[in-house]
Assembly symmetry: C2
Homo-oligomer: 607 residues x 2
């Protein structure tokens, strides 16, 4: 009945073939005159989601986690991951071939410095390593008296005979009704930034920046509607767009040709060499390949370190994007509410599994007729699985939703008019008093952020403590940020602003951020309440321009988990007003049964 098309639940570990592959890799390295090779899960764009053709770590080691670095030396090899994935790595890889290392406690640089032989030559892929990454590796190699060299071709690709072809999904134009601004105007605004910062040329290595600039979208990777592509935007002269021509229909090509010189990605190196000559060139410090930094230097250009100039521009949504996000959230809220009603009817029976819950939610969203993708793999965590912050259900971990437990579901959708990201935690059957108390503390943090009013110039680090204060007072906390930026039919994780200890970027009107405090009791349950927020101007500041948030997400927050005695009058008023808005905006989209359910689920606390 329900089906998940955008998410799999398989454990794709194939460690049985790792021994042969590792031997083949070592032989290939030897042939290239290399004593070792270090690589990560990154593709050429440092994308969050990578195409199957880039899954070299999984191919070699069997490990499928998103945080992974692999170092292969003649006598030993290691996989570096973080605390989230240590257990998964143990199950997925062959421990006789690879040691598992914690990337924070035992960084790959330290491991290399300790294990590289004096005089050894260590290879890395300069297209899949950033300049900062190369600098760190170079330091490690130097410590060991070894030499770091960029490989011309990735040595894994030579032996990965069954490697999937890189994706070639069609590029589509993102209509002006969604984008809200002509690409030509966006290019002009990028050039204003270049002029202001005295930069001659910007290289867009993040496909999300290319997509925003040229008002295009694609389907080359899961969950983010990106076309794998590059662009060069000079302060003067024609921009260049590097995209595989096979992805362009005649219509799309004609539209793009009015904006840019269209080139094949393999031409990027030569064209950048030309464009960079004697110029100051901005490469995005976080994502640009070291290869391109080398091209700029070889061309006699100077590197301008800093962020992709598009990052700040695309973070501020225009009126069309905001209208689209609002519409997407009303549609998504109705699908989520139908799902929550279904869950409330079915789950207490004990027959629904985490995987079925994922499939059901995706199905309700697909029934809107507008779903393009889910914006990330749904986190569907029942009972103790809810306490695993980055939990992703597999057939092995799958668990039934049981009465007396909490169920945490964090999910999102990609619609052409907007991207959503929402978390609800619901009680299956009757929750314990402890669950209600801690849910209420999380809710107080959520409300404190939602109600925050602050002057222009305030950054996310300054708001983050408001999400924690109630938890802190009880001696509790959560070990992740409170919120991240969200793209507009682009990546669900977008810079530069975030609400976290590290959120140094100022919040500006038009930015969209998540508000998702939580609490996790290991082995027992997890709680998270997440809505998306739009930063907006507020009247009434005596001396400063005030900002505040408009909540974009509408779906009921489980009243059975709210201990109203622990809320202030202002907090109760916020929740009641929020639920009134949910009833008004979502109710009319529902059938009679679901509407009746919603009226009760979103009733005022003291009704």
């Amino acid at each position: 009945m329900f089906e998940a098309k955008f998410q799999t639940f398989k454990d794709e570990a194939n460690k049985a073939r790792s021994a042969a592959r590792l031997a083949a890799l070592r032989a290939a390295l030897k042939q290239q005159g290399l004593d070792g090779f270090v690589f990560s899960r990154a593709d050429e764009h440092q994308n969050e989601y990578v195409p199957p053709s880039e899954e070299r770590v999984a191919w070699l080691t069997g490990f499928t986690g998103s945080a992974a670095i692999v170092a292969v030396l003649p006598g030993k090899a290691a996989l570096f991951t973080d605390g989230r994935y240590t257990l998964q790595a143990k199950e997925q890889i062959d421990g006789t071939l690879f040691s598992i290392e914690h990337m924070i406690e035992q960084p790959v640089t330290k491991w290399l410095a300790d294990n590289l032989a004096t005089g050894a030559t260590l290879g890395y892929d300069p297209w899949r390593t950033t300049a900062d990454g190369v600098e760190r590796l170079e330091k490690a190699a130097k410590e060991a008296g070894a030499r770091l060299v960029a490989v011309k071709d990735n040595p894994i690709d030579a032996i990965w005979t069954e490697r999937p072809a890189p994706p070639l999904t069609p590029v589509v134009l993102h209509g002006l009704q969604y984008a809200g601004e002509d690409a030509s105007k966006k290019i002009a605004r990028i050039r204003e930034v270049l002029a202001k910062e005295k930069i001659g040329v910007a290289v867009l290595s993040d496909p999300a920046s290319v997509a925003w600039t040229f008002n295009i979208r694609g389907n080359d990777v899961a969950h983010t509607p990106l076309p794998l592509s590059w662009a060069i935007v000079p302060r003067e002269g024609e921009p260049q767009l590097f995209v595989d021509g096979r992805k362009l229909s005649n219509e799309v090509r004609d539209a793009l040709a009015k904006l840019a010189d269209i080139r094949e990605p393999r031409e990027l190196e030569v064209e950048l060499h030309e464009a960079a000559r004697g110029k100051s060139v901005r490469l995005d410090q976080a994502t640009a390949p070291a290869k391109l930094a080398g091209v700029v230097q070889a061309a006699g250009g100077s590197l301008s370190k800093g962020a992709d100039p598009v990052t700040n521009l695309k973070a501020i949504k225009n009126e069309a994007e905001i209208a689209g996000m609002r519409a997407a959230h009303l549609r998504d809220g109705a699908a989520l509410t139908r799902y929550l009603a279904w869950l409330d009817r079915e789950a207490p029976g004990g027959t629904i599994s985490e995987i079925e819950a994922v499939a059901a939610l995706e199905t309700f969203r697909r029934e809107t007729g507008k779903l393009k993708e889910i914006s990330f793999p749904t986190i569907s965590g029942a009972g103790p699985n809810g306490a695993i912050v980055h939990y992703r259900v597999t057939e092995a971990s799958n668990r039934k939703l049981r009465s007396g437990e909490l169920f945490l579901v964090d999910s999102g959708a990609q619609y052409e008019d907007g991207t959503t990201d929402v978390t609800r935690t619901v009680a299956i059957g009757t929750p314990s008093q402890e669950m209600r108390e801690r849910f209420t503390l999380v809710l107080k943090g959520h409300i404190a952020v939602a109600r925050a009013v602050f002057p222009e110039g305030t950054n996310g680090a300054q708001l983050d403590p408001f999400a924690r204060r109630a938890l802190w007072e009880a001696g509790l906390d959560f070990d992740h940020g409170t919120g991240h930026g969200v793209g507009s039919y682009l990546s669900v994780h977008e810079g530069p602003a975030r609400i976290s200890k590290l959120g140094s970027a100022a919040l500006l009107p038009g930015m969209i951020l998540s508000n998702e405090p939580g609490y996790y009791k290991a082995g027992a349950y997890g709680i998270r309440i997440e809505n998306l927020l739009l930063v907006e101007k507020r009247e009434g500041g005596i001396e400063k321009q005030l900002l505040g948030f408009e909540t974009l997400t509408f779906a009921p927050i489980d009243r059975r988990l709210v201990d109203a005695k622990r809320l202030t009058a202002e907090e109760i008023a916020w929740l009641d007003a929020y639920h009134a808005a949910v009833r008004a905006k979502i109710g009319p989209q529902l059938g009679a049964d679901d509407r009746t359910w919603l009226e009760a689920a979103a009733a005022p606390l003291h009704a």
Copy 2:
């Protein structure tokens, strides 16, 4: 009747002599083969307060502000200061000799890069410039095609014929009843840090660190009881203490000789060269002279960048220091309360000036019989002068306290058992409703910090927003941090922790910090409410060890400025409990009249 012994009110500008002095300096530079010289107000220790023998900026330019860099080139010269001092600089210096530059908007490095001639040689004093500072200057010189050279002797001293002798105040032992820990144990703890961080030798260039380590104090600079001195603490072997022997009595010398090899400061260079050979040497990045970094490198040692290892140790006060701080604050609170009562009787008559107010407060403190110094020049700001955050009253700016205005007084004392820092804002006569509203918003921020409860690991940046929230909601804010660390009969400004956007150090039990939110209406009035806080452990955290604050400062907060309608029940309870503690702790120390005054001034809000 009242006298200020520790603070002057003169404008010591002597710009009339600047032209001749500048000409003499240029001639001296030419003789040394230099085309320019750049220097700041810093002494060899980057002390906050410097002895008169180090006031080279004032001697040359007439400028007496604390933030100052001077660059002298053949054709032009400039004084760099910050926004606080721009007006003062205009009055104090001869604008035909020095241009006044804003050190943030027009950094000295940019000015030098623009104004140094190609091939020019620029001198700097390597004893009074940090290694980081030299790096910045070198970059600027390189940009201009110029050369940066360290001078052997400061060229100003050669022409400053009437230069005062460096201070030679006696070093005194800081008794164990105040210090709470033997110097030998402190040295052992420093060595543990060195072992843990794999450092061979630590150089203590901050006299506050030397004073803490060896349990000594001095009087070489104003306001901070420092003996100008240095120390070398090797991980193994005898520490060396570099202090002018003329400052040591036989008794003090005998005590110190048990702990360290005592040397003259002029021997530091040679001894460090010996100690650094082949060792990892920690120089405090913020304060150590570039000269010493050069000595370490010349000796074949390696530089370990980071903080002075004493910084973190001395920030955590032991039981004796905490008991001393509590006692000092009770004594100081009584003096301050007597002063506030006097002010309340006298000021509405309109006869008291800001200077008299300073003198009176110092006198009340001196009458405790225990006052060693004031911990910084008292900020005594009536009406619009209160809105100048770093205001320092002079005979020219002096103003009477007038009815209908606010008076802000920020002051502190140095007692052998502790250092205080307290700000009170009082209404002279009847305040306006606006004053009361804004005072109440500041008070809400003060109470939010005082009441904060937070888990171990929380830093000051995470608490800073609590001080601002109520102001933010009204569109108001203040443009300084909420709090700084405070030493124990040492500097009133002490690292590493602070409550500010930049406060990245975790707050730990035993640390003492100020809590001083404010609000400043330019041209009208200033408000600040400051108490000192002790970080302490709190019971009851469910999962985390909780921390909170004990307020150390006891003096009434002006109830006439509190708009109780704008306080929550919890806030009123805090203020009433605070005032009850003030009455209980301070009342018994007062005469009958002052006690009667206090009973009313510190009465409950709804009495």
